[in-house]
Amino acid sequence: MGARKQIHLGVHFPGVNNTTVWTDPRSGSQIDFTSFEHLARRAEEAKLDFFFLAEGLRLREHKGQIHDLDVVGRPDTLPVLAALAAVTDRLGLAGTINTTFNEPWELARQFATLDILSGGRAAWNLVTSSDAFTGENFRRGGFLPHDERYERAAELVAVARKLWDSWDDDAVIAHAGSGQFVRPGSVHEVRHEGKHFQVRGEFTTPRGPQGHPVLFQAGDSSDGRDFAAATADVVFSAHSTFEAGQAFFTDVKGRLAAHGRRPEELLILPATTVVLGDSAQDAAERSREIRLQQVPGPTAIAFLEQVWGRDLTDHDPEGALPRIEPDVENLDITRGRVRHVKDPRSIAAAWRELADANGWSIRQLVIEVTSRGGFVGTATQVADAIDRHVQEDASDGFILVPHLTPGGLDDVLDQVVPLLQERGSFRTDYAGTTLRDHLGLTRPAPRATRSTSDRALVG
C-alpha cells in the first residue's frame, strides 16, 4: 500500500453570520486579540496548516437597517494576521482581501510585508466585488461591471506577481564595505500597461520567503473555477458533502491541465463544521441544540423575509409559514451578503409543502433548509469521514468552521487531529517553515530563471 494522501487542515475564525452563536455563555469577543490568539495558538499546537480570517467592508442591512441579530463588527484582516505572526511560528496566516477597492501596488506590498514579517506564512484569499452597496464606503464606488470582475482580478494578480518578482531573491546583500545595500541590477523596474492598471516603478518591498504568498480563491461559478485553475493555489470550496465534493474536485482538478498545471498544484479545501459527541446519538443531539441556537425565532423570520421580500415580524416563528405570496419586486431586502433569491414564489410554495408534510414551524423549516451538513459524530467517526473524503478525492482537506468564539474547535483539535495523526494521514510536526511547505506547494521561481518574455512584452 502506498503512502497515505496527506490531509490539509485550516481553522476559520468565526464570522459575522448565524453559524456563529453569540448567545452561548461560552461565547467570547470577536474583537479582542486574545480570541484570535487563542484559536491560532491552539491550531499551531495541533500542527494545522493555517488560520483563516474573512473580511467585511460594509455592515449587512436588512429592511433598510443594520442587521442586528448576528455578530456585527470585525477588525481589519491584515493587521490581525500581522499581529498573529508575533505569537505563532509555523501556522499559515490566510486572509480574505477584496481587490476592488485597492490598488495592486498597495496590496502587493501589504502581502509581501506580511510574508516577510511572518517568515513565509502569508496567504491571500482574493475576492472580487462589484456591488454598489459596498462601494458606498469607497471613493471608487461600485464602478466595476459584474462581467469584468475576474478579468480585473486576473490582471491584478498578474501585476502583483510582477511586483513580487521584481526584487531578486538575493537582492539584499548589505555590503558595508562597498556601500551596496542591494546587489546592483537586482531590483527591476516594473512596467505594466493593461486595461485596468497602469503601473510603473521600482517596488518598495523585497521578495518574501515564499516568493509569492499562497493564493486562495473561492468563486464557484464556471468563471470562478477557471480563474482558480489558472491562478490559485487553494480553492476555498463550499462543497463539503462527499458526492458534491468529489464532483467539484474532479471538475476543478480537470481544468488544470488546460493551464499547464498538475493536480497537486491546486488544493481543494471545503469549509465544514464539526460536532462531536460521546456517541453518535449524543453528537446528533448536540448538533440539534446548536442548530436551535443558530436559528432563534427572530433569525428565522428575518431569513423568510429575504425570500418573501416583506416584513413578516407579525408571524410567530413557532407557527406556520406565511400564506401571503412573496413580493417579487423587493428582492434586495437584505444587502451586504451573498444570497441570490431567483424565484421566490416557487421557493415559497416548495417550503410550504415541506413544512406541511413534516409539520414544521417557520423556525424548524429554516433550520432544515439552511443546514449545510458538516461532520457530526464521535471523534473516531469524524476522523474516519475526514480521512475518507481526502483518500477518495472528495477534497484535499478542510477548513474547520467553529460555532463558538474562540474555543469552538478545541475539542476537534484535541480529539480528532490525534486520530488522523495515528492513521498517518496528518503531520505530527511541521516539516518546513513556510505555508507553501505545509501545503506541498512549490515556491514560484525567481525572475532570473524565467523566460524574459514579459520584459519583451513591455519593451
Binding site: 467592508l57 455592515l59 470585525r74 501589504q110 516577510i116 539584499v172 516603478g201
Partner: protein, 384 residues
C-alpha cells in the same frame, strides 16, 4: 537645584525607520543591516524603547523606495502591518505607523489604525501623510501627482472621514441582548454620510470604536498647508527646528492657530525632531559622526535640532527647550539605531528622570495615558 521644583513633563518618541536617521547607519558595525526587514530586530528595538518608558515609536513609510540621492539603503515594509506585528509583545509604548491618504481609501485607513489600537490595547496613533511625488503617482497609474496643497487638502478630508468612522460605533453599541436576540443596538451605530470634495463614504465602520476612542493623530509640519492641517486636527505635531527660538515661535503659533480653530491649545503635543549622535564625550560622538560622513561622502544635513555630544548635554538641551516652552517633547532620531537608542534609554532617560521631567513608569495602558490626553467623547453620542 538647576531645575524648577515641578518641571514640565517631557514626551519622548523614537523613530525606528531604516537602520537609523543617518543614511550610512546601516554600514556601521552592529547595524544588523542583513536583518533590516526582520521583525525580531524591530521587536528588540521596541523592547529597548519600552525599557526607557518612551511614549512612542514612529515607523516611516512611503509608496516609493528611498531616493538614491539620500541613501544607498533600499526597501520598506508596510508600516501599519509592522506596527501590528509589534503590538502583541509590547506594553505601554505607543505604536505610530505612517499611512498616506493619497492612494489609500480612508475606510481602509480607519479600520487598520482602529485594529492596531484593538490589538495593542489602546496604543496606536496615525501619522498622517500624503504625497505629491510623480513616482508614487506612476506606481498607481491613475493620473498625475497632486500638488502639495492639493494632497494635504485631500489628507485633511481623509482625516475627517477616518475620525468620523472611529466614532461611528458608540462604545456600548454591542449589547448582546439575549431577550431580543439583538447583538448590537443599531441606534448606537451611525452612518457617517460623508459627501465631500474627494470622498463620499457612507459608514458605519466595520470595526467597533477603538479602545482610545480616537487614536491620536500625528502630523509633521513642513509647510503652510501642513501647518493648517496640524492646527486643526493633530494631537501630536512633529516640527523641525534648528534652534530653541524657532521652535518656541512655531509652537506658540501652532497653539494660537489651534485655539483659533476652536480647540484647546493644551491638547496639542508639539514634539521637535531631534537628530542625535550620543557618545561618552563630545570628541567620540564627533568622531562617530565623522565616520558616518566619510562613509556617505556628504555632510549630515538634518534640518532640525542636531545633537552630537554627551548624554548629559542632550538631557540639558531637552530640559532647556522644554522649560522655555519651545517643545512638549522630542521625536528622537538616532543616527544609528543600534548604538544611539541604547544610550538614549540607558544614559539620557535616567538624567531626565533625576530631573523629575520624565516618567519612570507608564501612566496607564494607552498612548493617550502617556501623552496626558483624555479619551474623547464620541461625536455622535454627544449630539444624541
Amino acid at each position: 537645584m538647576a531645575f524648577p521644583v515641578t518641571p514640565r513633563q517631557l514626551h519622548l518618541g523614537v523613530d525606528l525607520s531604516d537602520a537609523g536617521a543617518h543614511p550610512a547607519a546601516w554600514r556601521t558595525h552592529g547595524s544588523q543591516a542583513q536583518r533590516l526587514f526582520d521583525a525580531e530586530r524591530l521587536q528588540h528595538l521596541v523592547e529597548v524603547a519600552q525599557r526607557g518608558t518612551l511614549d512612542l515609536v514612529v515607523l516611516d513609510d512611503s509608496f516609493s523606495l528611498q531616493p538614491s540621492r539620500s541613501t544607498t539603503l533600499r526597501g520598506r515594509l508596510d508600516a501599519a502591518l509592522v506596527a501590528a506585528r509589534l503590538a502583541p509583545r509590547s506594553r505601554g509604548i505607543g505604536l505610530v505607523p505612517t499611512v498616506a491618504t493619497t492612494h489609500t481609501e480612508p475606510f481602509h485607513v480607519s479600520k487598520a489604525i482602529a485594529t492596531i489600537d484593538h490589538v495593542s490595547g489602546g496604543r496606536a496613533a496615525w501619522q498622517v501623510s500624503w504625497t505629491d511625488d510623480e513616482q508614487d503617482a506612476a506606481h498607481v497609474g491613475r493620473g498625475p501627482a497632486l500638488t502639495e496643497a492639493g494632497a494635504v487638502a485631500e489628507a485633511e478630508e481623509a482625516v475627517e472621514v477616518v475620525t468620523a468612522l472611529w466614532d461611528s460605533w458608540e462604545d456600548d453599541a454591542e449589547i448582546r441582548d439575549q431577550a431580543t436576540h439583538r447583538f448590537v443596538d443599531r441606534a448606537r451605530l451611525h452612518y457617517v454620510e460623508h459627501d465631500g470634495v474627494h470622498f463620499a463614504v457612507k459608514g458605519p465602520s466595520i470595526t467597533p470604536r477603538p479602545p482610545q476612542g480616537q487614536p491620536p493623530i500625528v502630523v509633521r509640519v513642513g509647510s503652510e498647508a501642513s501647518f493648517g492641517l496640524a492646527a486643526r486636527h493633530a494631537d501630536v505635531v512633529r516640527i523641525s527646528a534648528t534652534d530653541r527660538d524657532e521652535a518656541l515661535d512655531l509652537r506658540l503659533r501652532l497653539r494660537a492657530a489651534a485655539a483659533a480653530a476652536g480647540r484647546e491649545p493644551g491638547d496639542l503635543r508639539v514634539l521637535v525632531d531631534a537628530f542625535v549622535v550620543i557618545g561618552p564625550d563630545r570628541a567620540s560622538a564627533r568622531a562617530r559622526l565623522d565616520l558616518l560622513t566619510e562613509l556617505e561622502g556628504v555632510e549630515w544635513d538634518t534640518g532640525s535640532l542636531t545633537h552630537v555630544g554627551t548624554a548629559r548635554d542632550l538631557a540639558e538641551t531637552f530640559l532647556d527647550w522644554s522649560a522655555v516652552g519651545a517643545a512638549d517633547g522630542f521625536v528622537v532620531r538616532p543616527a544609528s539605531l543600534h548604538t544611539d537608542l541604547d544610550v538614549l534609554v540607558d544614559s539620557v532617560v535616567p538624567l531626565l528622570r533625576d530631573a523629575r521631567a520624565f516618567r519612570d513608569r507608564y501612566a496607564g495602558p494607552t498612548l493617550r495615558d502617556q501623552l496626558g490626553l483624555a479619551r474623547p467623547v464620541n461625536r455622535y453620542a454627544a449630539i444624541a
